[in-house]
Subunit: 208 residues, 2 copies
């Protein structure tokens, strides 16, 4: 898929970050922006920014810049974020509970539609406005809703069996918050949020 | 710094992921591993793996593979993770509280040594084994401990002023969990953990 389109996941992630910056500009009532300005705080070269956009068409006017509102709308469309997407979350521990209420997901039009745990003491309890469901009901809920994306934040030793289980139930994309490598069929798209690796990276550069 | 050494932060992050995988192999008592095997589940090409290691010396034996224990030790040394590093955390909301107790940081030998909030109702309360400190005491604690790295998970609108404040107090590296772009002096190293952008990326590819 990536090769066909020749659009890397790095490009897609940058588009989301551009969108976030454009959102900030919208709030500040800034109407037009240059590629130099938009990239100056994002650790991205202006040429990279222009290249990222070039995959999708022509944006901006030479010598004028980019219309903030138009560009934000175009990126939302590219990313398919105009329509709300429902996902499930598995593992309502401390991190899971925090993610259920995380505002950043709402910003990209993602809604956690159901959350699951296997701990009987948690099942039926509330987290924010949601009730924690028994993981045994995941199959039913996935089938009824057609949800294909799951966020996993179970304990690390449960990550692999939980991932295999939900893939069998129809999940096609997993956002993995556990610090482990999931071994799954190639047809499943796994994205890892690796909080420790970001921190390790930061420390490496500070030590040098 | 990056240019001098010609080692990208992508390489460093991959090293941390290799290390995690080697840890799993160690636990499973696997002694020797090929570059094909180590990379097959990590979305990395064997050639990339060998290139990443080549920056730091010679590892592995042609036709034999890599000694798991030796390679893990070497990567820990490269990353400077043999010695425990203390960091502070600012903003003990739901996500902050989850991060204080997040096991992945311990795995890379990072310890959250102090956590801060400005909410009087939180100051003095416990989160895990820690007491939440008044942000007003951050200067004193940073000075006394020599800590240079901070994890920020305050509400998004407070991220910029909080970051500026702790940079004045001596912080040189920030792991930013807020979905915003921090505008700071070039001497400060900022790393963003962007949970929404990973999820957006996942959804983009599933939609195509």
């Amino acid at each position: 898929m990536l090769k066909e389109k020749n659009i890397s996941s790095e490009t897609i992630k940058r588009l989301i970050i551009y969108l976030r910056y454009l959102d900030m500009l919208r709030k500040r009532k800034i109407k037009v922006i240059s590629s130099e300005n938009i990239t100056s705080y994002l650790n991205v070269q202006p040429s990279q920014f222009r290249k990222d956009l070039s995959f999708f068409g022509e944006f901006g006017k030479r010598g004028v810049g980019y219309d903030v509102e138009n560009l934000a709308g175009a990126i939302e469309k590219i990313l398919g974020l105009e329509d709300e997407i429902d996902v499930i979350l598995v593992g309502v521990g401390k991190l899971g509970a925090a993610l259920v209420q995380y505002s950043g997901f709402k910003k990209i039009n993602v809604r956690i539609a159901a959350c699951f745990d296997k701990n009987p003491e948690k099942i039926g309890a509330r987290v924010g406005s949601m009730v924690i469901e028994d993981i045994k009901n995941a199959g039913k809920i996935i089938k009824a809703t057609g949800i294909r994306v799951a966020v996993i934040c179970v304990p690390v030793e449960e990550a692999q069996p939980v991932a295999e289980h939900i893939v069998k139930l129809g999940i096609k994309g997993i956002l993995n918050f556990t610090p482990t490598v999931l071994v799954l069929p190639g047809s499943v798209y796994v994205s890892n949020v690796d909080m420790a690796s970001e921190l390790g990276n930061l420390i490496y550069y500070l030590k040098k």
